[in-house]
Every structure is written in C-alpha cells, then in structure tokens.
C-alpha cells in the first residue's frame, strides 16, 4: 500500500475508533472497534467490508471541511483499489485496475480479432437453421472458453488465497480446519441479500437524506442475472453432452434461464450506470470511475448482444452477432480477475471473516 494511503487510512480509523457514533450502520465499525491500531492488513479487511453506502460520511461531525477531514467511504474505496492490486495474480498485470477502460477496450478488440479468425470471416449458414457451430465449431468454443475459464479460476484462486492469508485468520476459531467449527450461513446470507446495503432497513444513500432501494435492486438484477446466464450455459453444456444440440427452443430450460438472466444483466447494469450519475461524487474515488464503468458497460454489451442473438438467430446477421457476442463474453471473462468483478470475492471473504469474529466474541 502507498505510504500516503496507509497514513490516511490510519488517521481516519483512529478518529472513527475514538468516536464510534456510526457503529450501527454496517460491519465496518464493529470490526474497527475490535482493533486499537490499524495495520495494512486491518485496513484491507475493513476496506473490503465497506459497501460504499455513504451513511457514515453524512453523519460525520468530522467530515470535510472539518480540520480532521474524515471521509470513510472515499478513504476505504482508495484502500480497496490498492488491495485489488496487491492480491492480483499475476502481479505484473496489476496496473490493469488503474487503466481499466483501456484494458477493456483492448481486450474487446483482441477478442474480436481472435473470433474473426476462428470464424474464418463472418458467414451465416445459408439454411437459417440457427446453427451456431456452423460459424464456430463446438470443440473450438469449448477449448477456447474452457482454457480461459481455467486461467480465470486460477487467478481468482490465487487472489483469494493471498487475501485470505493476509486477513490473518489464524486467531479465529472456526476458520481453522482442526476445530471443525463452522461460522454459519451469515456471510452467505449477507452476500445474497446485500443486507449491508440496508436490505432490512431504509435503503441506500445516494445523497444526504436521500435514500432509495434502487442501488440494491439493480445490483440484485446484475448479480442474479449473471448467475442465471451462467446456469443457462451449464445446462446447455449438459444438454449437448446428452446429444441435444443448440439452437434450443424459446421454451427450453437453457433459453428460459439465459433470457431471464440476460434481461437482468440488461436492467441491472443500465440502472447502476444511471444511478452513478446521480450519486454524490464525494462518496467515491474518482480514480475508479473507469473501473466501475468499463465493467458495467461490458456486462451491458454482453446481455444486449446475447439477447439480439436469440431473437435474430435465424437471420443472416446471426454469424456477425455470434462473433460479436462471443468476443464480448471472451473479453468479459479475460478481464474478470482484473476489474470490478473481484469486489464480490473479497467482499464475501471479508464478510466471512466478520461473521467469524462476531461468533468468536459471543
């Protein structure tokens, strides 16, 4: 972590820890109260617990222009970005987090070139049967996406392992395998319901005294949309193995899953993108606008091309659409470990550690 960021994080958390007025907003504050001093490790943990809702900035008697200048959401956002870089694998590409717009654009172009080459130019099958494998053969798709997936999973695995080790979980009972204890389903529930975006309370802050449920709902659309698309692909793969080959009917399970997921991935990212414009800029780290927006736009492009492909699969344009859609998906996959997506992994891990600490204290 940069020395300046570390110093800022320690200053902010020291003021917070002597005040504690925000302790019931979210887990960041109870987690902070368990500590007297704040190491880089502690700050990485707290930063990834923060959902950037903003309540604590508006409630803060020490927020700028007070001379203490406390802005917890922005400070933790800065630390979060540095933690992504720190846990990134391979480390040489950690710079991607700061130039995500360019990286995403390059990935898209590169993916397009690869797909074009694989497709041998864009030609739709003349029969209009909607046979994708006439454009790019099934085994080519499987080899390409299988290979990329293995790489992506490896990157996630290494990143998570680094993060988890860095969390210093050795003191926590229930996280060490020998005790055999589990710390419950709390973190799973927290992730699935976005409880700390105030799922049980009064919604999320967009500006002072302005709260709405939309950030949570659009995130749900995005998250579950992504999962449904993933499920659709998995079911389709199983169908393929049993001899049932694409294209599938509108009423088939893969298409129902994929369509609903696609709509979620259309509504969710579009909503999140629009909400960004209305959010108080004081809540975020301006250096991460590209990181957020590139990921949102890539998700949006994925769902748009996917749904277009579904509707137009019997038209001559199918070949072009398939190439564009697969390129988008490829670019999305390749950039997953180096973009906004990782927030979900580290957030979930931080919530798991928090749940374990809570249980320990009980």
């Amino acid at each position: 972590m940069q020395a300046e960021t570390l110093r800022l994080g320690q200053h902010v958390m020291t003021v917070c820890n002597a005040c504690r007025y925000c302790e019931q907003y979210c887990p960041v504050f109870p987690a902070m109260e368990r500590r007297l001093t704040f190491t880089e490790t502690d700050l990485n943990y707290l930063a990834n617990l923060c959902h950037n809702c903003g309540e604590c900035l508006y409630a803060c008697q020490y927020a700028p222009p007070h001379e203490f200048g406390i802005n917890v959401p922005r400070t933790l956002a800065r630390i979060r970005l540095q933690s992504y870089e720190e846990y990134c694998w391979p480390r040489v590409v950690a710079g991607a987090f700061r130039h995500h717009g360019i990286v995403t654009a390059c990935a898209l172009v590169a993916a397009l070139v690869v797909m074009m080459l694989l497709a041998g130019g864009v030609t739709a099958p003349v029969d209009g049967s909607g046979n994708f494998y006439a454009v790019i053969p099934h085994h080519v798709m499987v080899t390409l996406f299988g290979g990329v997936s293995i790489f992506v999973l490896a990157a996630f695995g290494v990143g998570m392992r680094r993060f988890w080790r860095n969390l210093d979980t050795s003191r926590i009972r229930g996280l060490t395998p020998d005790t055999g204890r589990i710390w419950g389903l709390t973190p799973v529930r927290d992730v699935l319901t976005l409880r700390h975006l105030h799922a049980t309370g009064v919604d999320c802050t967009t500006a002072e005294e302005t709260r709405s449920p939309w950030r949570r709902w659009f995130h749900h659309c995005t998250f579950y949309g992504f999962l449904l698309c993933f499920a659709s692909t998995t079911v389709a793969a199983l169908y393929h193995m049993t001899g049932s080959v694409a294209p599938y009917a509108y009423t088939s399970l893969p298409v129902i899953l994929g369509t609903s997921g696609g709509i979620g991935l259309l509504v969710g990212p579009a909503g999140l993108f629009l909400l960004r414009a209305r959010r108080d800029p004081a809540l975020g780290d301006p250096a991460q606008d590209g990181l957020d927006e590139a990921f949102i736009l890539l998700l949006l492009l994925t769902s748009l091309t996917g749904l277009a492909l579904l509707v137009l699969r019997h038209q001559p344009v199918m070949g072009l659409l398939l190439v564009v859609h697969l390129s988008t998906v490829l670019a999305l996959f390749v950039t997953l470990p180096y973009g906004k997506f990782v927030h979900g992994l580290y957030r979930a891990a931080a919530l798991a550690k928090f749940a374990a600490e809570e249980q320990n204290d009980r």
Partner: protein, 459 residues
C-alpha cells in the same frame, strides 16, 4: 404585514424542534442559523443520545426508566432545579422519540453496541449530525425557510414584545420581522472574552469541545434588553480533553478515559486529586475544573502497560517511553520530580483484586491525595502519557422561562412573544451538573413547547 409568524433563532435540536412544531400548527416559519451549512446544528451535531423516561422496553431502550428515577438521577447531579420545569421535561421525554421518528430521525437498536446507557438513553443512529440532517430535510419538505450564516446581531424589543431581528450574513444586514420569536442559539462557551470574565486568563488555555458559533450574542442581547438570568454565570461543564485537541469543535474524540487507570500529575510533576474517587462516568466531568485550577491549566495522565486496551483509544497517539524518566522528559516535565511522585505512589499501593467494573479494593495507604480504587503500581513498561486540558462542553447561564417556554423579564412579567428553548434556558433545569443526554431532552421538550406556544401566539 409580517412575512413570518415565527422566527427561530438558532438551528440546533431545540431550534428545529420548535420550527417543525410551529409549522405543524400552520405557522409560517424561518430558521436563522448562525453557522454555515456544513457546520449547522450547533452543539447538537456533537451529541449522541437523548435521555427519556419509559415504562417498558422497546426497540431502542431496554428495561423501564420511571419518571421518579429520572428525577432522582437529575437531582443527584444538578445542584438544584426548578422542580415543576424538571418534572415537565421528564414527563414529556417519553413522547420525544416517537415525535422525532416522524421527521425521519432514526435510533440505534438497543440490542448491540458498546453502550452502557441503553436503558436510560435513546441513541440517534449515526449521532447528532445525522439527527440534524433529518430535521433539516424535514424542514425543507415542510416549507420552512432556512438561512445559514445568519447571525442575529440585534433584537427589536420593547416592553417585553419582540418585533424584529437584525440579521447579518457576511457584509449584508437585514431585518426579519415576525409575530413571535423562539430563542434557541445556545450558550456562550465559544466566546473566549466572556469566559475570561468568569475564569480570568486561565480561559485562554481552555479548549472548546463544540461549535465555535455559540458566542452568546443572543443571550447578551436578551440580558441587555432586561431578560431575567438564571444559572451561575461562572458555571460550565468541563471535562479533561487531550491538550492537542483543536481549539474548537473537537467533539467526542478528544476526550480521554485513561484517568482512573493511572495517575494524573500537574506541570510540576505532582499529583493533585484522587484518580479513583468514584466510578469514571460519575467523575469524568469533575476533571475539567480540576485541571483548570492547576498551573498553566495543564495536567498529564500517566499509565503503564497494564492499562493499555482498558480505555477508549484517544484520537491522538500516546507519548510512549520505556522509563518514567524518559516519559517525563518527552512530556517536558521535571523528570526527577515525576520519578519520585511515581515511586511514592507505587510504595503506597496496597495489594488488592483489580476490577475496573466495580469500586475495587485496589487503593493507596498513607498517600495524599489518596487513590481510592484501581490503584496499581506503575511499573510495567511501556509507559504512556497524555497531556490534558480543560475541555468546555457548555455554559449554564441562561434565560429564565416559565412552563410555556416564555422568557421572564427582570420586571417579573413574562415577555409577550419571546420564547426560549435548549441550552439558552437549560439552566432552569440544570444549575451546575448534568446527566448524559438530558440536554437533548430539554431541547426537544422545550423546543416543542416553544414552537407550539409561538405558533399559537402568532395565530
């Protein structure tokens, strides 16, 4: 014709309670807040809770807190009170949280948190600034005009009747006319000249914990206009704060809770008071005056490794050393004297069972002043030191009011259309001491009364 029915001077909890209540009654209301928007809310922005009586537990309060117990708690510390007014505040306190929630104020759940006042006090979710944000948003929704940077520098009062206020914003001065006025602009604790009148040059070494905008302008205007004063003009609530705190507005984080865990020495390296006299929450407000009476108005808290982690961390790092001599040098204290003070103290410590949660049997013998509880030898490095100064929370001098929040004139009559609420009249209920959260109770209850009465007068 007056554009406003009710002018509220001061934009803290009491002022906004009055403004919202007057608006409920249909009055056209303006709030004149002396601070800029970022620092609006007076000392309310530094508060955290409100004390309220209640018969049974709810989502925000545990157990029951009968009115008689509340009154007894108040009497124990307040050094006298106006019993009918105190009973009025306590009786109406129970209804405060529900009223506040109607304006979007949120309270913490009583189930968790590091609170030891969960039975007697309802905690604002996020603290007093969040409370004030909710009130201001509600005021805007209700159509109340709010002016920031609007310091009232003059009042037109004749024969106990208010007609207009002179308001200064930057270089601009204007006259705001209203049929009634609510005075809710706090005390005079951030007016150093005025503090000097009471405390002499020692006041130059005081730290003001709250807003720099409580200059007492309105209080002075009213006293000059013949209002009846109440409360000791020299009394203020003062605690020990870290000497490195900002001059104003340091709020809660500059406070130090290490005192019962070690010894306190003055600038000469000598102890001067029993650090273990009573449970800390009952005594923390005595240390401001104690330190104010010491040379240079400064003192030093010295603890050893045994105390680390036992008190709320302060926002400023401790001065750390591996010997008392080094620590004294780092704190710019006479090293030999501090060494001998610590050695004398250590020799006087009797064996006992240390327990920070009770008045334990760890005490000194044959030492003056004694340390009656939690006395442990200071002998385990590292040694920590904190410099301390008096931190003024608020002043007690205020305006005498009746049960209708009407300001009483020195002539003995009540003012016709002048009402007061909050710190500016808290001295009616509190003469020299307070219990946590009662300032907000007085502000809310009298704010609502003042708003209602002012609207009725104007209507």
């Amino acid at each position: 014709m007056d554009r406003y029915d009710v002018a509220v001077i001061g934009g803290g909890n009491a002022g906004l309670s009055a403004a919202l209540t007057a608006r409920e009654a249909g009055a056209r209301v303006i709030v004149l807040e002396g601070a800029p928007r970022d620092f609006r809310g007076g000392n309310s922005r530094h508060t955290r809770n409100l004390r309220c009586a209640h018969a049974q537990p709810d989502a925000f309060l545990t157990g029951a807190y009968p009115e008689d117990e509340f009154f007894a708690d108040l009497l124990r510390v307040s050094g006298g009170t106006d019993e009918p007014l105190a009973r009025l505040v306590i009786g109406r306190s129970a209804g405060c949280p529900a009223w506040m929630r109607r304006y979007g104020v949120r309270f913490q759940s009583s189930l968790r948190g590091t609170l030891h006042l969960g039975r007697t006090n309802a905690f604002f979710l996020g603290g007093g600034k969040a409370l004030m944000n909710s009130y201001y948003a509600a005021a805007t929704r209700a159509g109340i005009d709010v002016r920031y940077d609007a310091e009232v520098v003059g009042l037109d009062i004749s024969g106990g009747t208010f007609s207009a206020a002179t308001v200064r914003t930057g270089d601009r001065t204007e006259t705001i006319r209203a049929k009634a006025v609510v005075l809710a602009a706090g005390g005079f604790e951030s007016n150093i000249d005025w503090l000097r009148e009471a405390w002499g040059p020692a006041a130059d070494n005081f730290i003001i914990r709250g807003t720099p905008y409580n200059r007492g302008t309105l209080l002075r205007l009213m006293l000059d206009a013949g209002a009846q004063a109440i409360g000791d003009p020299k009394a203020c609530h003062a605690i020990a704060v870290d000497a490195r705190a900002p001059r104003f507005d340091g709020g809660i984080v500059t406070r130090l809770d290490s005192i019962p865990f070690g010894i306190i020495v003055n600038n000469d390296g000598e102890r001067f008071y029993d650090e273990g006299e009573d449970a800390w929450p009952k005594r923390y407000a005595t240390w401001g005056s104690l330190i104010a009476a010491q040379p240079e108005q400064i003192a030093f808290s010295i603890v050893d490794a045994k105390a680390i982690g036992r008190f709320m961390p302060s926002v400023f790092p401790p001065v750390v050393a591996n010997s008392i001599r080094e620590l004294a040098a780092a704190l710019a204290l006479p090293a030999q004297k501090v060494e001998s003070t610590v050695a004398t103290f250590n020799r006087a410590v009797r064996p006992g069972t240390f327990n920070p949660d009770t008045l334990d049997d760890c005490r000194t013998e044959g030492l003056l002043p004694p340390k009656s509880h939690w006395a442990q030898r200071i002998d385990a490095p590292p040694f920590w030191g904190y410099p301390l100064r008096p931190g003024i929370t608020f002043t007690y001098l205020g305006l005498k009011v009746d049960a209708g929040a009407r300001v009483q004139m020195a002539s003995g009559d009540a003012a016709a259309n002048i009402y007061a609420a909050g710190e500016i009249m808290a001295g009616n209920v509190l003469r020299k001491g307070y219990v946590a959260g009662i300032g907000m109770t007085i502000g809310t209850v009298f704010g609502r009364i003042a708003g209602e009465e002012a609207a009725r007068h104007a209507g």
